[in-house]
């Protein structure tokens, strides 16, 4: 349309993008490193500590941290250190699974919206409706109604995130669809589903990866909030949310029951978010624009 010759990106501009990307990878290293450490600690919980996270010790309740119980014991005399590490397995799994599920479903639905206007209209109405229900409320409602288990909690958290992913993917689909290279492929006679998967989906990957990391963080938090509100996993299962919820009534008496799981939770979410930010800076093509902005 424009008659002008839009000049190709100058070398200076291209350089800027890579330069800034390198500077930012520090956040990637910090976030990734911290996360790796926490994940490893959780995964190797059984090697790191020999104590059974479920073992009740009637005469060792609410012990302050010492060399036997690194993080102290809770109100049933269970070892908080062991519980926090083992709890990490569940919490991290919830984070990963919900984010993955939300990303998968959201992407599929978002791509579907790219097929035709009618499908788009229907899908988007449902998405708008889901969007209008506050995510935490939806999750709380689903879990408290269906009953708490891994499947229900993961899907409850995921459902709340699906609309966001769908909108993201749909946005990319609608934009990329108009790109000449997609038009060109369409002109080659490539059918729509293949077009979506081969030419449009790859453009969604970068924003999806970023969104997914943030969803992992949000999901880990959501599990904790569900636990806090008393509608999370069954209490006998150590998860960060449950450990926090159990510590809540004795918090002022035995702060270690809250402080240590809280620290682990906070650090993990922080690490994932930092990682997400790092990835965004790395992957988001808009970076070029932000660099141009420098006065």
């Amino acid at each position: 349309m424009a008659l002008a010759s839009a000049p190709p990106p100058s070398p200076a501009r291209r350089l800027l993008a890579t330069g800034a990307g390198l500077a930012r990878s520090r956040t990637l290293v910090i976030g990734g490193g911290l996360l790796l450490l926490l994940v490893l600690l959780s995964l190797c919980a059984s090697w790191v500590t020999a104590t059974d996270p479920l073992q009740i010790r009637p005469r060792a309740r609410l012990r302050a941290p010492d060399w036997t119980y690194l993080f102290g014991t809770d109100s049933l005399g269970r070892d908080v250190f062991s519980r926090v590490l083992h709890g990490g397995q569940v919490s991290l799994m919830v984070g990963l699974l919900s984010a993955a599920l939300a990303a998968a479903v959201g992407t599929a639905v978002g791509l579907l919206a790219g097929i035709s206007r009618l499908v788009d209209a229907v899908v988007m109405r449902v998405v708008d409706g889901l969007m209008a229900i506050p995510s935490l409320l939806l999750a709380v409602a689903i879990v408290s109604l269906v009953g708490p288990n891994l499947l229900s909690i993961v899907s409850a958290i995921a459902i709340a995130e699906v609309p966001r992913v769908t909108r993201l993917v749909r946005g990319v689909v609608l934009t990329v669809r108009e790109e000449p290279y997609v038009r060109a492929a369409e002109g080659l006679g490539i059918p729509t589903p293949l077009l979506l998967v081969r030419h449009i989906l790859p453009s969604c990957i970068a924003p999806l990866v970023v969104q997914t990391t943030h969803m992992i963080a949000a999901a880990i938090l959501a599990e904790a909030v569900l636990g806090f509100l008393g509608v999370g996993f069954p209490p006998e299962l150590p998860t960060w949310g449950n450990i926090l919820a159990e510590g809540r009534p004795v918090f002022q008496r035995a702060p270690w029951t809250i402080v240590f799981p809280g620290l682990f939770l906070g650090a993990t979410v922080l690490a994932v978010n930092i990682l997400g930010d790092g990835l965004r800076d790395r992957l988001d093509p808009r970076l070029a624009r932000t660099v141009k902005a420098t006065p």
């Binding site: 009637p58 009953g147 069954p234 009534p249 004795v250 008496r253």
Partner: protein
Amino acid sequence: MMNRRDLASLLLAGLATVTLIGGPAAAAEPKTLKVSPHASLRVLDPITTNAYITRNHGYLVYDTLFSMDAGFRPQPQMVQSWTVSDDKLTYDFVLRDGLAFHDGAPVTAEDCVASLQRWAKRDLVGRRLAAATAEMKAVDPRTIRIVLKAPFGQMLQALSKPSSFVPFIMPKRIADTPPDQNITEIVGSGPFKFVAGEFQPGVKVVYERNTAYVPRSEAPSAMAGGKVAKVDRIEWISFPDMQASVNALKKGEIDLIENMTADVKATLDGAADVVIQKRSGKSAATIRFNWSQPPFSDVKVRKAVQLAVSQRDYMDAIIGDEDAYQICPSMFICGTPMESNAGVVGTVEADLAKAKAMLAQSSYKGERVVLITPNIVSFSGLAPLTQQVLRSIGINAEIQTMEWSTFLSRRTLEKPVAEGGWNLANAVFTTLDLYSPLANLNFDARGPGAYTGFVNDPKTEALKNTFAAESDPAKQKAIAEEMQTRAYDQVFYIPLGIYNNFAAYRSNVRNFIDSSIPVFWGIEKN
């Protein structure tokens, strides 16, 4: 120390008094007692729900014919005098002077009859009484006559039944409401009036002093004695969690926390201007079996569990504070008239070797058993510890945690686990639920359709009938001991120990009556 906020609220309260009440009352500063109750009051009708909070609300607003004193003895309350015929079949109760409902109407015998009839349709003991009753009527405005078909030795205990359901007296026009429908108007003749306009379910309940109330002259004792209201206004303020109310008490934002566990109490130890009081009412934790399904239909399996349980372990694990708990094998709870050690097996200390041996003789084949538990705080430690105990003798137990309501409906199912049933459940009672051999739900032994667990023991049911007819306390006690021996032998359930809860209040609050049920007469605030 008075800060600006207190000053402001005082001024405001004063202002409100002037505008609302006006006149001479404005001169006196109204005394408001702000209370954190143990739960949120939602249902106002004490006959449609057995929730403790609604019962407590009932004690503020309503009065009873008889009430129970600290020694678990029935004492007259609204009743001036009563007579029993020689054949023990006709009771006449005469109401005392000056009784009036909050709407100004005098309390009549007709009101009492209607109220008792409504109650008797809901309450277990009430049903027993109704079954034994030939006729209940108002002889004159002040006299109620109950004519029995057969002797009912527990008459006064029934009319003073302290815990849900309580035979509260309400106006006939209200008591005529069907017992499964909520009453909408809260009018009683008790020492406090319910302020309907300020009621916010789940947030706040407000009561005002009933200035027209004529208390008895006796000193207060538990639910009995003179109910003298000494504060002008009581506000029940709901809190979403215990810690918030503890903080509010520490800061003087509320005056009284009615009930807290030993763990919470510990966070208040040493707090300035706060008094902690151990409540006399006790809680009793239990394990209940499902008799209708294997493996616990086999008494040997139940006995094995009985031998594996140590009350001390349970109490240490869930309470911890030795001053707050008590090892108590009595099924009618230590400190009550029926307390006894008859027939006690195991209980205090575990004997794992014997338990395993017993299990080996039983029909248990290592199948998975399901322990159901609600996700509420007072139950939180019970299920995991029970699971640990069961595993220690080789019973493969799985915990299923659920919503309170799901728990309630699930535990009434007499189906196999595979079809949504259950094998074990923890339950927590209070002294008032258990001290009476008739009202004690653990002795509901009617089999299918009985209280959850479906204990099936006709012998116990027969003993209860004998007990109901018996009026000699010594003989009653003997029957109760026989019942307990039978229950231990057949392992109706396993008592896990009893523990105290605590009340805490600001130091300017005095004379909080030590009662199983928190009552708010007698209490003063300076």
